[in-house]
């Protein structure tokens, strides 16, 4: 009788100890791999950001993180555009413009874009850092015919579906309206942020 009542108890103990051991050893191994890969992953991330910054502002030779804390920008159509970072682009000691990293929500999640803005508030260049748009459809925002339209435009860019774009208008991609509108929202938000930064610099 004594052994009968004892058995389930020891069984549960055995189950939990074995499972804990397996989980513990697995956790240790994962931690070891993480220790090896974490610096490399961080370095790659920084390198990628640095490359993208350089790509949108080729004339700058250094970038200074301004520690932006203004929060999300609400776009003209009422959607929130998160701002991930703002950098002042400097050539020597002179500020030539700024770079804003935005992540508007596209069709398949956040599209991370770095926008270079010149000192007079115009788009210098854009660079998509990461996105998960539909392959072959939403990914068309990577085509120069689309993102090239933004160069030289200033805050409040409007998107049109057809016809010839006017001075501050761009043509969205038919069939990929969500992705291309998200890109447009991102660029506009970046321009809004840049306006406040550039304005503050001049004062």
């Amino acid at each position: 009788m004594a052994s009968l009542s004892k058995k389930p108890k020891s069984d549960i103990l055995r189950l939990s100890v074995t499972l804990c051991l397996i989980a513990g050893i697995t956790a240790l191994l994962v931690a070891a791999v993480n220790a090896v890969t974490a610096p490399e992953i961080a370095r790659r991330g920084e390198l990628k950001t640095a490359q993208s910054l350089k790509a949108v502002m080729p004339e700058a030779d250094s970038f200074e993180d301004c520690g932006y804390s203004g929060g999300d920008i609400t776009s003209a159509d009422g959607k929130q555009v998160p701002i991930d970072g703002v950098w002042l682009a400097k050539s020597g000691n002179e500020t030539v413009g700024c770079c804003v990293k935005v992540s508007p929500k596209g069709y398949g999640g956040a599209i991370e874009i770095i926008v270079g803005v010149t000192g007079d508030g115009k788009v210098a260049a854009t660079q998509i850092v990461s996105m998960s748009e539909t392959s072959g459809i939403g990914t068309k925002i990577q085509n120069p015919e689309f993102y090239g339209q933004f160069v030289g435009k200033s805050a409040g860019i409007a998107g049109i579906k057809g016809g010839t774009p006017l001075k501050n208008e761009v043509q969205t991609i038919s069939g990929a309206t969500k992705s291309s509108s998200a890109f447009l929202r991102g660029v506009n938000a970046a321009l809004t942020v840049a306006e406040s930064i550039n304005g503050g610099e001049q004062k």
């Binding site: 055995r14 189950l15 074995t18 499972l19 397996i22 989980a23 697995t26 956790a27 191994l29 994962v30 791999v33 993480n34 090896v36 890969t37 974490a38 490399e40 992953i41 790659r44 990628k48 990461s130 998960s132 539909t134 392959s135 072959g136 459809i137």
Partner: protein, 203 residues
Amino acid sequence: MKERVSFLAFLKNGVIDNNPTFVQLLGMCPTLATSTSLLNALGMGAAATFVLICSNLVISLLRKIIPQKVRIAAYIVIIAGFVTMIDLLMQAFVPALSNSLGLFIPLIVVNCIILARAESYASKNKPLPSALDGLTMGIGFTLALSCVATVREILGSGTILGFELFGGVAPLTLFALPAGGFLVLGFFIALVQFLKDRKGGEK
């Protein structure tokens, strides 16, 4: 000599007779999601194969220690450990591939091929055959994925391994989309069944 014969038997089982994708119809979600390009398919196949070999080996080594009642929990912990490791390693050393596969690498944890092999093979067999089973099932999965991906990439994007094939002729975007994935997969399953049936009839 004997070992070689048995390896071939394993290979035939994993690639043809019991192909995880075309015959067992396991792992449909990653098959459809990552077969948009051949490079993605190969990356996904390699990652899944690595996890299959390691988890089969470890589960087989521990098959007498893991209590029957908590075996699934133990398997998932072990599989998740390996998946996290390969995820971190890919992020650190092949970031481009890791970016394009995105969420589907962590999702290998719940890939039914891996759990199915752990439950139906590794938990009942010795370590070496289990590792072999993992390797050949992984090869079968990779080959199946590559077949679907080759057709989808050529038809859906007009490229193969990223190289332009038809000189700017608009591709059939349908094949890059999930619907096209189902179509191609369906035709491949039909083809494999047809070949198997014909072989069976000749006996």
